[in-house]
């Protein structure tokens, strides 16, 4: 057996500090997930500066624990408040809330928590098997393949994230433009630095993400201060055992695997996160069910479909992140930022260069899902109380921590200004209805595309593209995907115009 596996596992299990950080990370993640408006992404941003002083395994274990907790916590508010705590739990409301109204809140929560746990474990197991395999394929990738892969991923993000393709591409291109600031790849020419030393190092991914997510979130709350927002939480929930019977569990096995596979698949595709996977999985469960008319009235099938899928997506989203260095959604982009802080470069070589850390992360993910399950079953009443902490005290503190994160990354004030600038851009984009996820992917994939395009241009004479069938396949799929998407976009447009 690969000795890295044992080293990795024991590095987590024998370190009390790492275990403690996983525990805290998962709990904080759940609370963030449960509070509407705070997401897994925000939890990771907030904790990044705390991990600066930790070892790579400790730090990244904490971040993945936050991620798992953050995706899972959303179900609590979806069921008890009828407001999804995170976009990943949107579909949980559909049946979770009616169940709570019927007095079955405990059952809905029990089912949600347990199937979230199963979904996470399924995703992590798939991650453990698929990512080394994918890495060993990707290791043969050269400039052509990476160039094609980056175009392919970008096109997927653009076609899948929004209804409006033009605005999707705009967002991706703007992201790629910001990434060109600094030294050019290969020949280190200064670009758009305007003579500033700070600009030479370019904008940091972390700064970019903090501005786009944390600041825009605060602004969103600010914009709604004078709007009435009253929700009442169900507080008297008591969980007895798991909350559901063994027969109810066995009736959901098919649903479990189908939803887990949907979640995994959507997770792997870049650009679409838990929000889409829970909706899709819910719809599929409804359409294949023997009693579709009962969906929406409070059946456990709906909760199972939504919660299994969004949690299985965690492992799914980590697959391209670890083996190709391509994050699928904002939360994994944030994790990529965390990897960079600890000098770990995700990509096909990650298992060779950082084997022990990788297996440490897998161990941490399994531990975090167990902690998640136990904490949510055991500490439910406490979590419901935390939901009442007013966000108006919490958000300013988060912004302060974000600034600490920006300063601490490379000890310069320039990055804090970056946070403000990207916050303004994020606000402007939201107003203009331009999606921001493609921008992040553009920021990450733009440089990857350029570097490999230029490298390939050097090779073109001695080693033409015809020697690289994989890259041709990627490009062909890209063309087909874009063509199909343009067609459906046009159809949609005609439909809406006809309606008007």
């Amino acid at each position: 057996m690969n000795p890295d596996i044992m080293t990795g596992i024991s590095s987590v299990l024998t370190s009390p500090m790492t275990l403690l950080f996983i525990l805290i990370g998962t709990m904080v993640g759940i609370v963030f997930g449960a509070i509407p408006g705070l997401t897994a992404t925000m939890a990771i941003v907030m904790f990044l500066p705390v991990t600066y002083a930790m070892s790579a395994t400790e730090g990244i274990s904490t971040l993945v624990a936050l991620y798992i907790g953050g995706i899972s916590g959303g179900l609590i508010s979806a069921i008890l408040l009828n407001i999804p705590g995170t976009p990943s739990s949107v579909a949980t409301c559909f049946d979770g809330r009616p169940m709570a109204n019927k007095g079955q809140a405990a059952k809905a929560l029990g089912v949600g928590i347990f199937f979230s746990f199963l979904g996470t474990i399924f995703g992590v197991i798939m991650l453990i098997f698929i990512s080394p395999a994918l890495a060993s394929v990707a290791i043969k990738f050269g400039a052509y393949e990476y160039c094609a892969l980056s175009i392919f991923s970008l096109s997927l993000v653009i076609t899948l994230t929004g209804k409006d393709m033009v605005k999707g591409i705009i967002s991706a291109v703007v992201g790629a433009m910001f990434a060109t600031v600094g030294l050019s790849p290969i020949d280190s020419r200064m670009r758009y630095t305007f003579g500033s030393v700070d600009m030479q190092a370019g904008f940091k991914l972390l700064v970019f993400l903090i501005g786009l997510f944390a600041i825009t979130e605060v602004v969103k709350v600010a914009a709604n201060v004078r709007k009435e927002q009253n929700f009442t939480a169900e507080e008297n929930v008591r969980l007895k055992g798991l909350g559901f019977s063994f027969r109810e569990f066995t009736s959901q096995i098919v649903n479990l695997f189908r939803s887990a596979l949907i979640g995994l698949g959507i997770g792997i595709l870049p650009g679409i996160g838990g929000g889409v996977s829970c909706m899709l999985s819910y719809t599929v469960a409804k359409n294949t069910s023997k009693h579709p008319e009962k969906f929406g009235t409070g059946v456990i099938d709906g909760v199972v479909a939504s919660e299994t899928a969004n949690n299985a997506g965690i492992g799914g989203a980590m697959i391209p992140l670890l083996s190709l260095g391509i994050p699928g959604d904002p939360a994994t982009a944030m994790l990529l930022g965390g990897f960079m802080v600890h000098d770990i470069a995700p990509g096909p070589l990650i298992f060779q260069k950082n084997g022990p850390v990788m297996y440490g992360i897998f161990t941490a993910m399994i531990l975090a899902s167990i902690v998640m399950c136990l904490f949510m079953f055991g500490g439910l009443r406490g979590i419901v109380k935390v939901l009442k902490i007013p966000k108006y005290y919490l958000l300013p503190v988060i912004v302060m921590l974000c600034c600490v994160g920006a300063i601490g990354d490379s000890n310069r004030m320039f990055d804090v200004w970056g946070v403000l600038i990207f916050g303004l851009i994020g606000y402007f984009f939201a107003k203009a209805e331009i999606p921001t996820t493609p921008m992040i992917l553009g920021f990450i994939l733009g440089p990857m595309f350029e570097e490999n395009l230029r490298r390939a241009s050097k090779l073109a004479q001695s080693d033409p593209i015809t020697n690289h069938p994989i890259s041709i396949v990627f490009l062909a799929i890209t063309v087909i995907a874009v063509a199909l998407s343009v067609r459906s976009n046009m159809k949609q447009r005609k439909k809406t115009e006809a309606k008007e």
Partner: protein, 169 residues
């Protein structure tokens, strides 16, 4: 239906100006003429992005323009009747949030992390709290406690350097 032509025209126009400036500035990028320089130089890709964004922003702008002309022809163009002043008042929390952040970052280094963070948290939480729930005392306590605790934790325990400012100890 809410009309979107204004935002589309504004966003498209602004992005176009940005793209054009970016495109023109690409001429300032120095060339690498050494041995082994790749055939595609450091200017090409930025220029591609520039042209692409110019085209796309123009599409968004034209979309807005067409909607405007259509509404005008149909006589459905209604003046919103909201003045700039009213707009600012309507969005005061958003503007104040950005303003607060600007002042916070601006003075962070000269004044120092603890003082500015405490002030920022106090001010921002007052902005975010609905009028009837505002409590300056709690906001001040949250601000001071959070700023001191974070400064202590990061500087002493996690060894992240934060600006000490006028309290320079």
């Amino acid at each position: 239906m809410k009309t979107k032509y204004k935002m589309n025209m504004f966003a498209g126009g602004l992005l176009f100006v940005f793209a054009a400036a970016y495109f023109i500035l690409s001429w300032q990028i120095p060339n690498f003429k050494g041995l082994g320089a790749p055939p595609i130089d450091a200017k090409l890709v930025p220029r591609v992005w520039g042209v692409l964004l110019m085209v796309l922003s123009l599409i968004v702008f034209v979309r807005g323009l067409l909607e405007y002309l259509r509404l005008k022809k149909e006589g459905k163009l209604v003046k919103s009747g909201v003045s700039v002043k009213e707009r600012i008042i309507e969005n005061r929390e958003v503007i104040l949030t950005f303003l607060c952040l600007l002042i916070y970052i601006w003075l962070l280094q000269p004044v120092g992390f603890i003082i500015m963070s405490a002030l920022y948290i106090f001010a921002e939480s007052m902005i975010l709290t609905p009028k009837e729930k505002r409590n300056p005392l709690i906001a001040a306590i949250v601000g001071v406690v959070a700023a001191v605790a974070v400064d202590f934790a990061f500087v002493n325990l996690l060894h992240v350097l934060l600006p000490a400012g006028i309290l320079g100890w």
